[in-house]
Subunit: 550 residues, 2 copies
């Protein structure tokens, strides 16, 4: 299976079912064979007396058009045909009868022969019944120069929005039609795609990148060979701007950037950046999308619609609507930059920091122990992880050694010392262990600052390691040594006893063959049997070093 479909013949009705179940719509009963959706709150005898009903529709395969544009302030209803095929005259006529009140009904039709004829005949029938019906034909495609009948494509959505807005303002039918026709004269659209769309149940045709696409998977007017998103946007912009300039239209523009089907959010974001860059942000006053607005099934392409940012159009397009697929009009603006505050804590790493000889000596012992342990720790890690635990500990030790030598660490004040070690470890030690130990010291420093109790501070630090690291004792990590050692200290036991607790905890990791976190989580159980966790081993050695000389 290449695509998420059921039976190809069911696609259209399934999509309409979703639309009807997730928005307040009425839908023509299925046995009628007609696909009509109408605003549930529309009453032609009530709102329809004062407000023009706005209907649109056409073939399916262009979703979210047209059902997604039904709502207050946009379409009153929509009529759908089958995939890429116009709805029948009967369907359009039944929709008109359903919505058209005294204020009349406007049909917004894309310029394709089938749609024009079927909507047209339905309009004439409805007029024969005394209904006040008008039609606007949208022909925004500029792909073919001097085309007698340019196609109607994504710009149609803007006509939906304008007409729906004006209808909501109780504008008379004829005035809405004129305003819509004026809008149609002032916009142009052009599409490009890297490949063809696939009809449900079929493979897509092989097709080179093309420019000047409609929305029925027809070939474009020109083969192109864009090398980048910037290229692709330039290929679309040049003929589009020329066509608009021939009509004496100029920016600042409203731009509608339409995903023709299966572009990723990332690609559309890059294309939007190209657009803003190439036209200039000040020339793109407002952006609609990027979003799938008028698609051609899963065509991998986009279309761009441009129109001058006239005040009345901006007002209409900015107005609120309950139509679920309208993405809104976004004013663009030159990015506003701020200077991020990345200062380091200068109290933690100072120049010529005060020194306490005992503390400095203890730190030097720890540094020695870790440097000496490097090979053994790496060897343990080679059995249970990626073999760099010793190297990692050594680089942490080296960073602290260097800072001690330069008198950057204040060994006379534990909160400052811990904060400084925290900074050094995250900056210079690297790996998850570096960040985890940094968390331990940083959190301990904050706790010491507030409460002044060393044992509680260390416990708080270990607690944060567990929160952020996601491991707990028993998971084969350095916590297996750290937690019992710090618990021992909290009970008021001397360092030797804490060191023993760390050693016992480290030793016990050799029996833990199921790792839930840390480096061993991806290693088979048999490989872990009898192997002490290198992180726990390092912790045990640090506590032993501290205890030895007490």
């Amino acid at each position: 299976m290449d695509r998420f479909y059921n039976a190809p013949g069911d696609v259209v009705d399934e999509i309409l079912q979703t639309a009807a179940a997730t928005a307040p719509l009425c839908v023509a009963e299925p046995q009628s064979g007609l696909r009509i959706l109408i605003r549930r709150d529309w009453d032609k005898a009530d709102q329809g007396r004062r407000q023009v009903a706005v209907l649109s529709g056409g073939g399916a395969g262009h979703e979210p058009a047209h059902a997604g544009y039904i709502g207050e302030g946009m379409l009153t209803g929509a009529v759908s045909g089958s995939l890429f095929a116009s709805p029948s005259v009967d369907a359009v006529l039944a929709a008109i009868r359903e919505v058209c009140g005294e204020a009349g009904c406007l049909l917004v039709v894309k310029n394709y022969t089938g749609d024009r004829l079927n909507f047209g005949l339905a309009a004439e029938r409805a007029r024969g019944e005394g209904l006040n019906v008008a039609m606007v034909i949208v022909a925004d495609d500029v792909a073919i120069e001097d085309a007698p009948q340019p196609r109607g494509i994504a710009g149609t959505v803007l006509v939906h929005k304008l007409c729906g807005y004006l209808a909501g303002q109780a504008t008379p039918l004829d005035e809405i039609r004129k305003r819509a026709e004026a809008l149609c004269q002032r916009m142009g659209s052009l599409g490009m795609a890297l490949s063809a769309a696939a009809q449900p149940g079929q493979d897509p045709a092989e097709r080179s990148p093309q420019l000047g696409l409609g929305i029925h998977n027809e070939a474009g007017t020109r083969q192109v060979d864009p090398k980048s998103a910037d290229d692709a946007m330039a290929l679309v912009l040049e003929p589009l701007r020329n066509a608009l300039s021939d009509r004496r239209l100029s920016g600042p523009w409203i731009a509608l950037l339409n995903d023709l089907g299966s572009c990723s959010t990332q690609e559309m974001g890059v294309l939007a950046a190209s657009l803003l860059h190439q036209l200039g942000i000040e020339q793109v006053a407002h952006l609609i999308g990027p979003a799938p607005l008028m698609t051609s099934l899963d065509m991998h392409g986009f279309s761009l619609t441009l129109l001058p940012a006239d005040d009345d159009v901006v007002t209409a397009l900015s107005a609120s609507t309950t139509a679920p697929a309208w993405p809104g009009l976004r004013a663009t603006q030159a990015p506003k930059a701020f200077s991020p505050d990345t200062h380091q804590d200068h109290e933690a790493l100072a120049d010529d920091a005060p020194q306490n000889a005992t503390t400095t000596a203890a730190l030097e012992r720890i540094i020695d122990v870790l440097r000496q342990a490097r090979e053994e720790l790496d060897a343990l890690d080679a059995k249970s992880g990626d073999g760099d635990a010793g190297a990692s500990m050594q680089s942490g030790a080296d960073a602290i050694a260097k800072a001690l030598q330069a008198k950057h660490l204040n060994t006379a004040a534990l909160p400052n010392l811990f904060a400084g070690i925290g900074q050094l470890l995250s900056r210079d030690m690297g790996g998850s262990s570096g960040v985890l130990l940094s968390i331990l010291f940083t959190a301990a420093a904050a706790s010491l600052d507030q409460r002044g109790n060393l044992q509680e501070a260390l416990a708080a630090g270990v607690d944060k390691m567990q929160t952020y690291g996601g491991a707990k004792p028993g998971d084969r990590t350095m916590l297996d040594a750290l937690v019992p050692a710090i618990e021992s200290l909290r009970r008021g036991e001397p360092l030797v006893q804490a060191a023993q607790a760390a050693r016992d905890g480290a030793q016990a990791t050799a029996a833990l063959t199921h790792a839930n976190a840390g480096r061993s989580a991806y290693v088979p159980e048999s490989a872990l049997k009898g192997v002490v966790d290198p992180g726990a081993e390092a912790v045990a050695r640090v506590f032993e070093a501290l205890a030895r000389e007490q």
Copy 2:
């Protein structure tokens, strides 16, 4: 080129530029190397005194997450790493410093080690600076049973929305954290994809359909072989419902249907229909999406998130926000059906309709002429179109003949007669010509009804043919005979003269080698030279038949 990208290394910054240019954001100056976006209207000394700042972020490649969720009522800001890689501790810390006021700051973090550690350490540093920071870790993925550290995926967006809503209500930091953690306990998500995502500049890995996907293009937990969208949805629903049921959670649900990257709008619509059908509409109280909410680049797949529709959560998720990518919460409802009004105009086609002998005789002459012309018209059409013009005219003639015989056509009243012919032609004649002639008679009937002038009525009908058909005289269509004939009648000339005008017009089409509309538009010019348009020929013969017997 397979995808709309520029240099692969530029993708993330280009997307962020688009975000920053199309929403009121402040962005960390590019030379800082940090990717931070903040609500432009946020002032930590003002709103930040009363309202908690909500920050989120993580690797890029999940767009519209996270920048798209920045706005009033959702995120205060977002921090982005590079593709699929956590932002640095410095970036997160700088963001916290930028937004955190007296009310504090909440970090919403997806449960991936890198994010947890980097956001965690940044939080600890910020606390060390006296800032009031809390963190919520989202772990909604249920792909791995009893996973010690379930991944954070699309459900994270719901946590953004809840926290943003509560922050806007001036809820204290600790209370927001608790409510967010409670939400995390009550939701589950599961992903499935048909193929892998492609990193910019690389081809996607070949990969079979898989279930239990994260959002970093990692393999799923299980290979699957869905045969349809219904299958795919069932494969996701079963383990997801089991996981929720194990936690004693039950519906009615809020469902979030997330496009993982490159599903078409149509596929997502079909998947949503599957979801509603399989769970039952009454069990899916609210739907969010379908939409790309938390993507994995262009992965062709989807994820589903379910959580009980608790009142407080519904309130938070329903609240308005200015975040551009939040698609809203839509209440579902059983589709409401209406019975479309497809009645035919009974006055136009009646039983035992009144007859006028002269009119009936004239119609019969037209019918004879068209039946006799069939082969000649087909032959003309074979040279310029698809060769069925004669057959099409004959079927129109046959339909009228049958209705005449059954006395369904009221030949005693022209408005009724024209309306009846209009109905017959659209129903039984087929093709564009059937609809066009139907438009002619239908519009003429309405005009006759209103003004009573036959010549004006025919002119009105021809006018509508041009509007809807898109052709004009000179385009090699039946208009080339119709328009001069009706103009002649409007000048008060007798039928013989009108018939001559039709004949001249038809004859002139033989010299028209450039067709702009109708069947000949796709035929090379050389093939058209010397060939009379069959539609115009038919019209000339009809007028000649009417004139002959006058």
